[in-house]
């Protein structure tokens, strides 16, 4: 009985297949006829060798392949052509006649390395990246662990929703909030005047030494709530029986956190940490550029690329700069990926 049914089903399937094939063929034939008269002669021949010919396979699935076309075109133009454009790093670029610009080998790179700004920018970039890892990265973990201690309810949900807010508003609006808060007649100076009533207001926005803390502060403020989502998701996946057992064993909230919650999220933490290290050189251009003004001298590589290349029209040098930045990032990503493979047996790529 079972066999019979199976046989019937197979037959049906075959019928259906040939039916659809015929339909598809009909459609293709019509299209071909419209487009190209020569193809019309080929079409019947194709149907006989359908199973072997690659061209025929393509024809049969042409509609589906056509679906890929917009994506491929967009990807080629907007992702691959800029990759080819990286070759400008080895050119003395004449923007009006790019294709006849002379090749100058590593000249641009030599120039960059001899620039005093460059060493500074590299250092600044690495320093900001490092601060991100030691401050921006752990903050949401602590936030998630503490939030987990709150009882489920309206208060917890409200806190979560509010903490997501900065993630959704634009970077420039975040900078705008900071500028309003820290300006000479802003609220921060007012609070300060309570404690030091005799002093002049501070010009935080113009202080070189306030630039980095403000930068890190804004990045933490913007991402704190949102980055905690993934940890909270991991925590909510922990088996409740573990906590029950711990309570029976007499573990308090702190011990539960230490021996159950933290070990459960440590895998996620490591993976994200590795990704973060891979992004070490990807500084937040938006916030840095937004906070910069003529009184501040703090360039990172991405702002240098913008200022040298787009404002200063030194296309070759700027491309060489961004190529170096990209290569450093790529090396970091590959290295961290290699380490994670060794540690976790999981590759991120």
């Amino acid at each position: 009985m079972g066999k019979e049914q199976k046989f019937k089903a197979e037959n049906l399937e075959k019928n259906a297949q040939t039916k659809t094939e015929n339909l598809v063929e009909n459609v293709t034939e019509k299209e071909v006829a419209l487009k190209n008269a020569a193809a019309e002669k080929e079409a019947p021949a194709v149907s006989t060798v359908r199973k072997t010919s690659a061209g025929a396979y393509f024809k049969k699935h042409r509609a589906t392949y056509l679906f890929l076309l917009p994506g491929i075109i967009c990807c080629l133009i907007f992702h691959y052509l800029p990759l080819a454009g990286l070759s400008m790093a080895f050119m003395k670029v004449d923007i009006l006649d790019l294709f006849h610009s002379p090749w100058i080998g590593l000249e641009n790179f030599k120039k960059i390395i001899s620039m005093p700004d460059f060493t500074k920018a590299i250092f600044n970039t690495a320093w900001l990246g490092f601060l991100n890892i030691i401050i921006k990265f752990p903050a949401p973990i602590i936030f998630a662990l503490l939030l987990n201690e709150l009882k489920d309810g309206i208060g917890k949900r409200f806190t979560q929703t509010v903490s997501y807010l900065p993630y959704f508003i634009s970077t420039i609006a975040v900078v705008g909030l900071a500028v309003t808060l820290f300006s000479s007649d802003g609220i921060v100076n007012e609070i300060r005047s309570y404690f030091k009533p005799n002093e002049e207001p501070m010009y935080y926005l113009l202080e070189q030494k306030c630039f980095v803390p403000m930068n890190v502060g804004l990045v933490v403020w913007k991402n704190l709530g949102w980055s905690s989502v993934i940890y909270l998701a991991t925590i909510s996946g922990i088996d409740a029986a573990l906590y029950e057992a711990a309570i029976i064993d007499g573990a308090g909230r702190f011990k539960q956190c230490l021996h159950i919650t933290i070990p459960s999220i440590i895998g996620t933490v490591i993976i994200l940490l590795i990704l973060e290290i891979g992004n070490l050189f990807k500084t937040n251009f938006d916030i840095i550029y937004g906070l910069q003004n003529s009184a501040i001298d703090y360039e990172v590589i991405s702002t240098m690329v913008y200022k040298k290349g787009i404002q200063g029209s030194q296309y070759g040098i700027a491309t060489a700069l961004s190529l170096m930045e990209g290569l450093m990032s790529l090396v970091l990503v590959l290295a961290t990926n290699f380490i994670s493979k060794r540690l976790n047996d999981t590759s991120l790529i």
Binding site: A84, G85, T159, S170, A173, G176, Y203, I310
Partner: protein, 292 residues
């Protein structure tokens, strides 16, 4: 107890800057210049908003922003969905296409190369620079693809084939309607990212005043107000009159309240909807684990 206090602190820290700016935006501008506005406007007025919304430039910027968001969202959804759908059909060469799309996720040409490319294909200082480069994002394609693979049963597609549906019909009548949740998710990602974007204008369209978006206008206001700070400080050091410096500067620099109003205007659409859309964004984080 400590935890509750800490959470209250975080909530306050998050909301406070915004409420402060909100209070300033609704305060009389001459009154606000005296300082001291905290969480509530002292002299309530709608004048700032009236003034801002009667500004033709702001309207134009709003029009450009909305136009780019709408166009790029529709276009990106179409392109990314088509690609994702075709990749789920498991045709010959799919693996090759996957690699082709994947490579640019790891190495990018960077701003400079894009700048020169746009110059050559005429996108520089052209409205379409907001739309065309944003059409294809492989990350979104991966997310859509894994949704189609896991949520649309193969049997539905087979059944449709038996009923003699064309590929186009299958895509528009079956795949798209069944993918509404992921459609909404990706649409929201694209919309929020493009509404908030201002660097595209800075890099590629800053020479054309007609293409300024709301966010870019805000950036200009912020930079002007930083310059104002510098002028005031300079006046102070020279022993001059701070009030005079402020007055001199305010001729070509919009007052503090205007900046606050602008911040409110660019963020309000997001603030209004984000509590309702956050679940769609969370989906992205959890789906993000399904790479490749």
């Amino acid at each position: 107890m400590f935890v509750i206090l800490f959470m209250l602190f975080i909530v306050a820290l998050t909301l406070f800057p915004y409420l402060n700016v909100l209070a300033k935006a609704f305060n009389d501008s001459a009154d606000a210049a005296k300082g001291g506005i905290k969480l509530w406007p002292r002299k309530f007025t709608l004048e700032n908003f009236k003034q801002m919304l009667s500004d033709k430039n702001i309207y134009h910027a709003l029009y450009i922003t909305v136009a780019r968001v709408v166009l790029v969202t529709i276009g990106a959804l179409l392109v990314q969905f088509m690609t994702a759908y075709a990749l789920t059909r498991k045709l010959k060469g799919t693996a090759l296409f996957n690699i082709f799309f994947l490579i640019p996720m790891f190495i990018t040409g960077g701003t400079m190369a894009s700048f020169v490319l746009y110059k050559y294909i005429g996108l520089l200082n052209n409205f379409w620079v907001y739309v065309l480069p944003g059409l294809f994002t492989f990350y979104n394609v991966i997310v859509i693809r894994s949704y189609i693979q896991t949520s649309i049963p193969e049997s539905i597609i087979e059944a449709a084939h038996i009923d003699g549906i064309s590929e186009l019909g299958l895509f528009f009548k079956i795949i798209l309607p069944l993918s509404k949740p992921i459609l909404a998710t990706v649409a929201l990602w694209v919309m929020v990212a493009n509404w908030n974007d201002w660097t595209t204008t800075l890099y590629f369209a800053s020479r054309n005043k007609d293409l300024e978006t709301l966010q870019y206008k805000l950036m200009q206001t912020i930079q002007k107000s930083a310059q104002l700070q510098k002028d005031i400080k300079a006046a102070l050091i020279e022993g001059g009159d701070v009030e005079a410096a402020k007055k001199a500067a305010s001729k070509n620099i919009p007052p503090e309240t205007m900046k606050s109003t602008q911040i409110i205007i660019v963020t309000v659409p997001i603030i209004m909807v984000y509590p309702f859309i956050q679940k769609y964004f969370t989906k992205g984080i959890t789906l993000g684990a399904v790479k490749g």
